[in-house]
């Protein structure tokens, strides 16, 4: 990837983190940890790869993203706002009565949301349905999905894994946000889903393992997935709470909002990172 593009995506990821935190802080609830860990994946998809149009959110040949780990929608909403699907100020309404930004994504309320999700395990199956429909109807669009490592404890993920391989859904590209933490602790202590790479390979998927915060690795992996004849899973090693020092690698920050003093520290850190990214981009 060109350096200029890379720096733009870095900046977008930093802004996604900042807006995600703002959303959760304002809502006094939500899921910051997993939103922060997928910022680069979301930035890459919406600002580099996906063919979507904020002026025509329903266009039939668009690429789709199913955020199967729907609770991390602050990251998705932030990207959609930056992209222009709705005004950025609306981020402040997240989880409030009357808001289009529901606690979990609602495809009928918010433009740009391709599938209603929130109940773990179901999004990846819906993504399979979209991918199969595209193949059978002669569409060339891609269907992306983001699933969690904790989510992989759901049996339905493996039903979908079987389905995708059986129907050779080469247009399905899933990211697995391997941040190692779920609500009750380390995924390997709660209910060990590993080895995830070997499991998906055994199910017949094209498996790649990357650093999920490295945009060049994401780019390389997605491009490799484009030429695969199998469904793709990109297992992204990530840091839960990435970018906020006191949230990083803490299961406790899976699903709670920072208090005012905590938020000030978090905003300061994320703002500094955002400004840094902006300056680096401007200076080339």
């Amino acid at each position: 990837m060109e350096r200029e593009k890379l720096l733009c995506l870095d900046e977008a990821a930093a802004k996604i983190r900042l807006l995600s935190l703002e959303a959760v802080f304002n809502a006094e609830s939500g899921h910051p940890g997993g939103s922060l860990s997928i910022a680069e994946i979301i930035a890459y998809l919406y600002f580099e790869k996906m063919n979507v149009d904020p002026k025509n959110p329903q266009k039939s040949d668009r690429d789709r993203l199913v955020l199967s780990k729907g609770h991390t929608c602050p990251a998705l909403y932030s990207a959609l706002a930056i992209k222009g699907f709705f005004p950025e100020e609306e981020i402040k309404t997240f989880r409030q009565l009357g808001s289009r930004l529901q606690g979990h994504p609602d495809m009928n309320k918010l433009p740009g949301v391709d599938m209603t999700t929130g109940s773990l395990g179901q999004g990846i199956s819906a993504a399979c349905g979209m991918a199969l429909k595209a193949l059978k109807s002669g569409y060339n669009y891609k269907v992306f999905a983001i699933i969690g490592d904790g989510e992989s404890q759901e049996g339905q993920v493996w039903e979908a894994a079987m389905f995708a391989a059986h129907y050779k859904l080469k247009n399905l590209i899933a990211f697995l946000d391997f941040n190692h933490l779920q609500i009750d602790g380390d995924v390997r202590d709660v209910m060990n889903p590993t080895p995830l790479d070997e499991k998906f390979a055994a199910f017949g998927w094209f498996v790649q393992v990357i650093d999920g915060h490295n945009l060049e690795e994401i780019d390389k992996a997605v491009n490799a997935a484009y030429s695969s004849e199998k469904p793709s899973i990109i297992i992204c090693n990530t840091v839960k709470g990435k970018g906020v020092s006191f949230m990083e690698n803490k299961a406790d920050w899976h699903g709670k909002a920072p208090k005012k003093d905590e938020n000030e520290i978090a905003v300061a850190e994320l703002e500094a990172a955002y400004k840094r990214a902006m300056e680096v981009r401007k200076n080339g």
């Binding site: 039939s60 199913v66 609602d106 495809m107 009928n108 391709d114 599938m115 209603t116 929130g118 109940s119 395990g121 179901q122 999004g123 199956s125 819906a126 993504a127 399979c128 349905g129 979209m130 991918a131 199969l132 429909k133 595209a134 059978k136 109807s137 049996g155 339905q156 039903e159 979908a160 079987m162 389905f163 059986h166 129907y167």
Partner: protein
């Protein structure tokens, strides 16, 4: 209204699932839709469609939760998807997928579940799902249809194809009398149908209990009791007007369904009458118990899901 009821019901018996299979195959040309099944396509009869339109038939294997969410994904891409299995699994096992992947986003998924009720027969309690209508009725956005016979099932399929939104349709394994003549039948979603008028009691029947309800009417008539029989093929949205009208007219109501007395037709009717026109009523259905193995016809008698059972309940409130 105006549908002709076959007088000799012993002439022909067809299961509603057979009508479903034929309807899918027949409507496959006029309408664009996908059909999904979970390894029961021979039983649910979706295999007929699968043979005719293999490109639009998707066997999902024994994974009903995934099947329902895949159907949702197809519908979210703009094409209607039918999803079939036994009611126990399509609706029972995959309840949460139906609620969250289908009903909440209001997607065009038609869950057509066969082998509902006790008439699955020999398979026994694990497969005899008598709680499906209770579950499906409670979910917002869901339309619930329970056809009386093969003719009604066939026409109901075209009606739900033309309806924009999620639908649950209950189908049976057991061959039941073909009550309606295909040549002049019309189906209107959400409308109760008066099969026979009467003044002393109104029997609201759903699904395969319509034909025993008509038999019960004959028995009652011989004893001087004038019963109306109303077919409630759409449990949701239910025809409130016709229920209130007949509650006020006859002052006595009996409901008849091959479903638990909790949450099905009996409950739906009582919800309306208790609020708008409190009416003396009795319910024929599965009395909060599990099924058991046996031949379908024996089970209907065993659970009093027959004309005699309806007559008994009518007399209990006269």
């Amino acid at each position: 209204m105006g549908n002709i009821i076959n007088t000799d019901m012993n002439l022909k018996r067809v299961a509603t699932r057979v009508a479903y299979g034929n309807a899918l195959a027949d409507f496959g040309e006029k309408y664009n839709f996908f059909v999904l099944d979970a390894d029961l396509s021979g039983s649910t009869q979706t295999a007929i469609f699968g043979k005719k339109y293999p490109d639009r038939f998707i066997n999902c294997g024994i994974a009903e939760g995934n099947m329902i969410s895949v159907a949702a994904g197809i519908a979210a891409s703009g094409v209607t998807a039918f999803a079939s299995s036994f009611a126990m699994f399509a609706c029972g096992r995959a309840f949460e997928q139906i609620r969250n992947s289908v009903a909440y986003p209001r997607l065009n998924v038609k869950i057509c579940a066969s082998h509902a009720g006790v008439t699955v027969g020999e398979d026994g309690a694990t497969h005899q799902f008598c709680e499906d209508i209770a579950l499906m009725r409670s979910v917002p956005n869901m339309v619930v249809v329970n056809p009386a016979d093969a003719t009604e099932a066939y026409f109901a399929i075209e009606a739900i194809l033309n309806y924009d939104g999620p639908v649950y349709m209950r189908l049976g394994r057991f061959a039941v009398p073909v009550m309606f003549d295909k040549s002049n039948y019309t189906f209107e979603l959400g409308k109760g149908v008066v099969l026979a008028d009467g003044n002393d009691v109104a029997i609201f029947a759903s699904g395969i209990m319509n034909s025993p309800a008509l038999e019960a009417r004959e028995i009652l008539a011989a004893e001087g009791i004038d019963a109306a029989v109303i077919n409630i093929h759409t449990l949701k949205p239910i025809d409130k007007e016709i229920i209130i009208k007949y509650a006020e007219k006859t002052k006595r109501i009996v409901t008849a369904e091959e479903h638990s007395v909790i949450g099905g037709l009996g409950s739906a009717v009582a919800e309306i009458t208790s609020e708008f026109c409190p009416t003396k009523m009795a319910r024929v259905g599965i009395e909060d118990t599990f099924g058991t193995s046996g031949k379908a016809e024996h089970l209907l008698d065993y659970f009093n899901l027959n004309a005699a059972g309806i007559v008994k309940k009518v007399k209990s409130i006269l």
